[in-house]
Structure formats: C-alpha cells, structure tokens
C-alpha cells in the first residue's frame, strides 16, 4: 500500500528553496498537465450545480439508456438519470471522499510519526507494531468487513481507509525525523533553549513537507481507486452518485449501451493518472533530476590537451626493459548536458616497462585514478577517452569495445582496488568470486579453479584458506579482503597489475603488510605494476619509476631514485614537504605552492 514511502523519503534531504518549487512545477510540462487536470476536476466538483440543470437523482423510467442529446448531454443511465449530471456530482462526492481519506491518513501518520521520531520510547515501538499490523491487512477486505458493521457509507469507508493508509505517512515522517533529529543544527537549537514544538515546526516539518505532499498525491490516487472499486462491486452508498457507482450501473448494461462505461472509466483513469503524474513531477523537481539532454549529432567538444611539458629525468639503467604499456596524450572527459566536455585528464603520457613498478602519484582529484580506469577500459558512466592512445603490448586499447576489452581484463591487465570491502560482491562467497573469473578467462574446470583459489589464498598470506574460501565478504576484515582482492588480481596471471591506492583504506598496521605482500608477489611473478598512490612513502618503498600527476597532467617523471634525489617541479617538491611535515597524511596537499612556502616556517 505504501511502497512509495521509501522512494519518497530519498528526496527528503534536498528540500529547500521551496518558493521556487511551485514555479518549477508549473514549468515542468508533466507537472503543469497534472495541475491543470486536478484543478479542472476540483472546479467541476465545486461548481457542480452550475454545470448542469438536471437533477442527478431524477429517474425518468420512460427514457432509460438514452443516447446523448441536447437535453441529456451524455445520455441517460439504466434508471433514466442524466449521466452528465451524475458525473459532475459524482466528481464532487468522489473527490471529497478521497480527500477525507488522505487528510485523515496524513493527520494521523504525520502526527504519530513526529511524536515517535522525536520522542521515541514506548510510543515508537507501539506505533511500529501497529504499522506492521495495518500494513499486513488487505485494505479491500477490511473495508468489506467494515461495511458489514457500519453499512454502506462513503464517508465511513473513506475514514477507515484513511486510518489504514496512515502508515504510509507515519513511516515517511518517522524516518525523516530520525534523520534530522540528530543533525547538528537541531542539536544547536535544542542547546540554545528552543522549545520542542518550535524545533519540530521550524526544522522538522520543513524537511517532511514536500515528501508528505508527494505521498498525499499517491494516497489520494489509491483512495480514488479503492473507492471506485467499492462502488463498482455495488458496495458504495446507493443514495449518492459516485464514479464507482456509475461504473457499476454501466457494467451491467455493457451490452446495451457500452458508451455508458466510457465516462466514469475515463474520469477515474484521468484523475488517477493526474495524481500519479503530479507526485512524479514533484519528486523529479525535488531531486532536480532534469535529465541531461543528449546533444543531437556527434559534434564532439573540443579537446584541450595542451600544457607545460613534464620534467623528464633521464633513465639511469643501462639497458631499459621492453615497453609494456605506452600511454600517449590521454585525455579523459565527461560529457555534460550542454554538450561540453569536462576534462579530468588533460593529455597524460606515461610508459610502464615489463616487470617494473611504476608509481603514479598525485593528490585527490589529480586524475590518476581516472587514468588508471581508462587503461583498464572501465571508466565510470558518462566518462570516455576523448583523445590520445593507450598501447598495451603493441595493441591499441582505445576504441576497443567492452566485449573486446573483456579478453584483456583479468588475463593481461588486472586490478587491485582501493576500498577492499566495497569491491567484493556481498552476496557471493569469496571462493566463488575467485573461481568464477578463472573458469571464464583461463577456461579451467571448477575443481581446478578451486584448487588454484586455495593456493592463491595461501600465497597471499591468509592463515586458513579453506575458511576464507567459504566466507562471505562481510565475515572477513578489511586487510583480509584486500589480500583476497590481490589474490584475485594475480589469479589469471596478468602482465600488468593496476593497483589503485591499495593501502589507503586500511589500518596503518595492515598497510605495511599489504605493501610487503605486493612487493613479494611482484618480485616472484615478475609482473609489472602501475601503482596509483598519493603517498611518497609507498613510492619510496616499492617503485622503480615515478610519474607525478597534478591537475590531470604529468608534471614530472623518471626513475624513482633520481626524482627523490632531485625533484625539479614545485609540486613534486611540495609533496615531499608534506611527507616530511606530517608523516604522509592525506589531504594536506592542496594549494601546493602556499604549502611549500609555509612549510619551513611553520615548524
């Protein structure tokens, strides 16, 4: 009955700028249409006596089932009553009935939701229980049973239905209040001595207002439907015209005068759709999810890949190893609704040689992760490689389809993510997530894959491979999960591992272990690693060569030793200062130049 409560809640957070909301609704075509239809229906109900000169209850037995005429605009029904007059008055009663149900539901639901959410305690548990009780009842059965008690009254039925629908508002309000109750500004108001009622009024009601309106539209439509349904099966008050009652009469005369069905059916459908569209449009406006309109044609935005050239340190090795990965002039961007391109990587060039560990270092937002995702062919939705090339082992990767990339992913290039816990599917065991890719990319049997998976789990230093194999992701620690992900990354014997900040999300004590593991595996397997990090400590620990990235560009690149010995770019310098100053903490790297100046004096 109230599945929409949860959906509606999502928008509870971004209310605000309310004055514009009504205006935005009128500008939204769907919203405008819904508002016009609802307004017309309300006008029809209000002005009913002016819209027809006929008495809706006057039965002319000699003139039944008449076709539309000047006297009877829409003809007459099975009792010879004027259909237009009945329709107009039915609109009045049906809308009033639905309004009664909605009003009661909102009054009960919002009040109890506020009390339960704000004060909690016993009231909350009692309400929760009552809510689940009421929600387990099929509304129509209750209404029918109630009819046996209170007789066929429209108002009684709608009042009871209002009570039955109250949980929709209760859940909505309760959840919203719970969300707001402990917000800082509410605490502040409480500390400042503001009384509860005014906190509720000012801070809490503003949050639930819009979702309550959306819910009210939905509840109204449900009330209209159930009321019409009751009327249709002949359960409504026969003394007043209602949409459902008209439908009932028309249905019995379906063969003689099918047109009779059209009027009540259309108006019920129109009203229901209008309320549904209203709710939907309001929700859209609240979410500001004005969908980005695709720009017609393929007029691609201009790509800008220019900038100062990177500081390149000379190679120190006498005989450098063969090239494995060659990224040249890579530009990554996200298409915007207006057709422009927001660039996050602005012409990155870097090379990774076979078997080397290459550090890609830079602060958050410098584009290093985006670079890594482009090489993997796994940019997030909306992102694309706008220019440049990525050549892996002599093969151009840009422009390859997802399907073609799948043959390279896992088997040739693999990935160790940053956040171990969110990178394992919570619904499957760790074992099955290791076995599945091996069976697919290596084409081995399930039994073989399992044996390999157990070996791998042992190899990455997990004490009880069998147990980990059977565990679900939520049953292991972050450090263990990262070991599992490393096992997954090496499971299909790749040539290149892209490790995206593999230790950032872990406890400091675990970080060192994971780095040791990576180093050990790298040396044992001779695999190349592109290590994305913001931490020069990690680079110093592991990397043969380094590329320093800032604002989507490589500013300095070369052998790690050489860069450590003499950083040339001011940004690289500031990264060093940060590591010296506060022990490789993250986030202190922005405004690099100021930092650089202050670093000495601040000590």
């Amino acid at each position: 009955m109230s599945q929409s409560a949860d959906v509606t809640l999502e928008v509870a957070e971004n209310v605000g700028r309310r004055s514009h909301l009504a205006r935005r609704m009128l500008k939204n075509p769907t919203g405008l249409f819904a508002i016009i239809v609802i307004a017309l229906l309300i006008l029809m109900a209000a002005l009913a006596p002016l819209l027809t000169s006929q008495d809706p209850d006057y039965a002319d037995i000699r003139n039944i089932l008449a076709s539309p005429s000047a006297e009877h605009l829409l003809g007459t029904d099975s009792a010879g009553r004027d259909v237009w007059a009945r329709l107009v008055f039915a609109t009045r009663y049906s809308l009033l009935g639905a309004a009664l149900a909605t009003f009661l539901a909102a009054a009960i639901g919002v009040t109890s939701g506020l009390i339960a959410g704000y004060y909690g305690r016993w009231f909350e548990s009692v309400s929760a229980w009552l809510t689940s009780l009421v929600m387990a009842l099929p509304g129509l059965v209750v209404l029918l049973a109630a009819r046996a008690v209170i007789g066929p009254t429209l108002w009684g039925a709608m009042a009871i239905f209002g009570v039955l629908l109250a949980p929709a508002f209760y859940r909505l309000t309760h959840a919203a209040v719970m969300g707001v109750r402990n917000e800082l500004y509410v605490d502040a108001a409480r500390v400042a001595g503001v009384k509860d009622p005014s906190i509720i009024g000012r801070h809490i009601l503003t949050v639930v207002r819009a979702p309550v309106i959306i819910q009210a539209a939905i509840v109204t439509l449900i009330a209209i439907a159930i009321q019409a349904g009751l009327g249709f099966i002949g359960m409504s008050d026969p003394t007043i015209p209602t949409w459902g009652g008209m439908l009932n009469d028309a249905f019995t005369k379906m063969y003689q005068q099918p047109l009779l069905l059209v009027w009540p059916a259309s108006i019920i459908a129109l009203a229901s759709v209008a309320f549904a569209l209203f709710a939907n449009a309001l929700r859209d406006e609240l979410e500001r999810s004005a969908k980005p309109k695709k720009v017609k044609g393929k007029a691609k935005a201009a790509v800008n890949a220019e900038g100062a050239a990177a500081e390149v340190h000379a190679e120190t090795e006498a005989a450098p190893r063969d090239l494995l990965l060659e990224v040249d002039g890579l530009v990554v961007g996200y298409d915007q609704p207006d057709g422009s391109l927001t660039q996050v990587v602005n012409g990155v060039s870097l090379t990774v040689r076979k078997g080397e560990v290459h550090g890609l270092i830079g602060e958050s937002g410098s584009g290093k992760t985006q670079t890594a995702f482009s090489i993997l062919g796994l940019l997030p939705e909306g992102g694309r490689v706008a220019a440049g090339s990525i050549v892996f082992d002599g093969v151009e990767l840009t422009g390859k389809s997802a399907k073609q990339m799948r043959r390279i992913q896992g088997k040739r290039i693999s990935y160790v993510p940053q956040e171990p816990m969110s990178n394992l599917d919570p619904s499957f065991t760790i074992g099955s997530q290791l076995v599945e890719p091996m069976r697919e990319t290596l084409g081995i049997s399930g039994k073989e894959a399992k044996a390999r998976a157990l070996d791998l789990l042992a190899k990455v230093g997990l004490p009880d491979p069998e147990k980990t194999f059977r565990s679900y992701p939520h049953q292991v620690s972050g450090g263990q999960a990262q070991r599992v992900l490393i096992a997954g990354a090496i499971s299909c014997e790749p040539d290149l591992i892209i490790a995206d900040e593999p230790t950032t999300a872990l406890d400091v004590t675990v970080q060192a272990d994971i780095l040791d593991l990576l180093r050990g595996l790298q040396q044992e397997l001779g695999v190349a690693v592109l290590l994305v990090t913001h931490n020069f400590g990690v680079v110093a620990d592991l990397c043969d060569r380094v590329s320093v990235m800032q604002k989507g560009r490589i500013v300095e690149t070369g052998p790690a030793r050489s860069i450590f010995a003499g950083p040339r770019h001011a940004y690289t310098q500031s990264l060093f200062d940060a590591i010296l100053e506060d022990g490789a903490a993250r986030g202190a790297l922005s405004h690099s130049s100021d930092r650089h100046v202050n670093a000495g004096g601040a000590k």
Partner: protein, 313 residues
C-alpha cells in the same frame, strides 16, 4: 536461520490473533437483526427469537469469542448462517482459486518486471523513458478498469477469450489457461509497474557499486555480471516491493473475480459482508490473515536466500 523463521512465525501468530480479535469485536458490535434477515420478513417473532438463541446471538461477547477461538484452533469455523455450509470447506475451495490467480500474477509480474527493469536500467535513453511513463500509467490506473477494458476488447469484440467464468485445471488445462489469462493480465499490470520501477532503480544503484567494476576487471562476462551479480544484489528491494504488492493483490482480486465471475473468495466476501454472514466473514479474515503471514514468511526466507547478511546473522 531456524531461529529467524521461528521468530517470524511467532510474530505472525500474534498478528493473526490481533486481527481476529479486532474483527470479532467489530462484527459483534455491528449486531443488527441477523436472525430476522436469515428467516425473512414472513417469520414470526418466536421463530426469530429461537433462531437467535440457536446462533448464540444472545450470549455476551467474551464467552462467544472464546468459544469461536477454541473451535477455530481445531479448524472448526462454524457454519454459514445463510447456507449452513461449513465455513472451512467453503473457504478452502474458493481460496485455492484466488491463490491460483494471485500466485500466477506474482510470478508473471516478477518475470516481466525483472525483464523491463533491467532493460530500462541498462539501455537508459528512450527505452527507459518509455518504461517510466508506462509504469506511471500502470501504477495509477486501477486493475479493475484494466479488467473492464480487457473484457471489452479481447472477449467481447475480438472473441479471443470467454468473457466470464472459470474452468478448473482438472477439467481442462487449456480451458483453465483461457479463463485465468485476462484476470492475471489485469492484475499484473499494476504490480509490474511498481516492481519494474524498483528493479530499474536497484539495478542502476547496484551497477554503480565498486565490486561491479572489479568483477569486470577480472574478465567476467557482462551477462554474468548483470544477471548473476547485479540482479541478485538488486533483488532484495524489488522483493520487498513485490511482497507489498501481494497484499494489495489480495484486495484487487476481489473485484477482478467479480468482473470475470470467478468463484474465488471475492464474490464470497462481497456476498457475506452484505448479508452480515459473520461466520463466513470471520473465515475470510482468518484466511487472508494466514495467507499474508505465510507469504511474508516466504518473502523473508527469499530475502535470506538472496542476502547472506540476513541469513547468517
């Protein structure tokens, strides 16, 4: 898991007890001159009084309720005041018909809404917008209006189906299929609209999860990523919506059965409530209560199956 199931069952029993108590209390208050209604206007005062005595109408509420409850626990729900048929028998045969419709609707809605929801979530663009608009219409328009439309178009005008009536599976499977097709379509549209929206939303959310990228990075095929991993994770919220739809469907079938003249509990409920046939009304209340409790339990178990965190905690 066993403990979880038992706890859920316990809560269900409490719920059933609460529902029946409230229903009995309300029906008792309704009073009315039932005996007169049963016997008709021509009966004498004496026979009416005798009938009232026979039905136990003169006894106070509490003993009457305890009596009813005691019998109900033994599966004896009394006899209809009007037809004198045993309530349990009348309801079980009709409930089976209703449940056929509802379960059929739930299964079909689940399949169709998964297909539509995943399609909308993956394709986006015009497919997504079209499905969104259809969902709003499907959600807004009451099932009985759709049923009336279907009867008019497919039964009366095109003559593809029988407009009304019900054929038992045992009598003719083809006839049964013909008689349930239109009702199930009419009932499914609203459920599909609601569930497809939820599937779409959850699939879009699940697709953005980090582990989807990691699975792809391992070379797992796209279809496996979507239909095995993403769908399973998106299944929980969709299942919750489907469970709510089920409760709504129990109400919706009442009207749809009336339209198609299907001998489920719908026509029985409508008849018994208008007559004031309290034993039957109570039977219907208990039957729907039991169905709701059992179905919720089934959905909870399905949630546990989908989500190991629910299952293992």
């Amino acid at each position: 898991m066993v403990q979880f199931t038992l706890r859920r069952l316990g809560a269900g029993v409490v719920l059933l007890f609460a529902i029946t108590t409230i229903a009995y209390l309300l029906l008792y208050l309704s009073g009315g001159d039932i005996a007169r209604q049963i016997l008709g206007q021509t009966a004498t005062e004496e026979t009416v009084a005798k009938k009232a005595e026979e039905l136990g109408l003169n006894e106070p509420l509490v003993p009457r309720y305890i009596d009813w409850l005691g019998n109900a626990l033994h599966g004896d729900f009394g006899r209809s005041w009007f037809s004198s048929q045993p309530v349990a028998e009348t309801i079980t045969s009709r409930l089976a018909v209703t449940l056929t419709l509802v379960v059929g609707t739930v299964l079909i809605s689940a399949l169709v809404s998964i297909a539509l929801g995943v399609w909308a979530a993956r394709k986006r663009g015009w497919v997504d917008r079209l499905i969104q608009v259809l969902s709003i219409l499907g959600f807004a328009i009451p099932s009985f209006l759709i049923a009336i439309l279907l009867v008019n178009v497919f039964a009366l005008n095109l003559g593809w189906f029988q407009p009304t009536g019900y054929t038992r599976w045992s009598a003719s499977p083809a006839g049964w299929l013909e008689s349930v097709t239109l009702p199930i379509i009419a009932l499914s549209i609203g459920a599909v609209a609601a569930v497809a929206q939820q599937v779409r939303g959850s699939v879009i959310d699940a697709q953005r999860q980090d582990w989807v990228r990691t699975l792809r990075s391992r070379g797992v095929r796209e279809n496996k990523v979507i239909y095995k991993h993403v769908l399973r994770n998106a299944g929980g919220p969709a299942l919750a919506v489907l469970a709510l739809q089920f409760v709504g469907l129990l109400g919706g079938t009442l009207i749809v059965e009336q339209i198609f003249a299907i001998p489920g509990i719908g026509p029985l409920t409508i008849q018994s409530t208008t007559q004031g046939d309290i034993p039957i009304v109570m039977g219907v209340v208990v039957a729907t209560g039991v169905v709701v409790v059992v179905v919720n339990l089934v959905f909870d178990l399905l949630q546990g199956f989908l989500n190991p965190k629910v299952r293992l905690s």
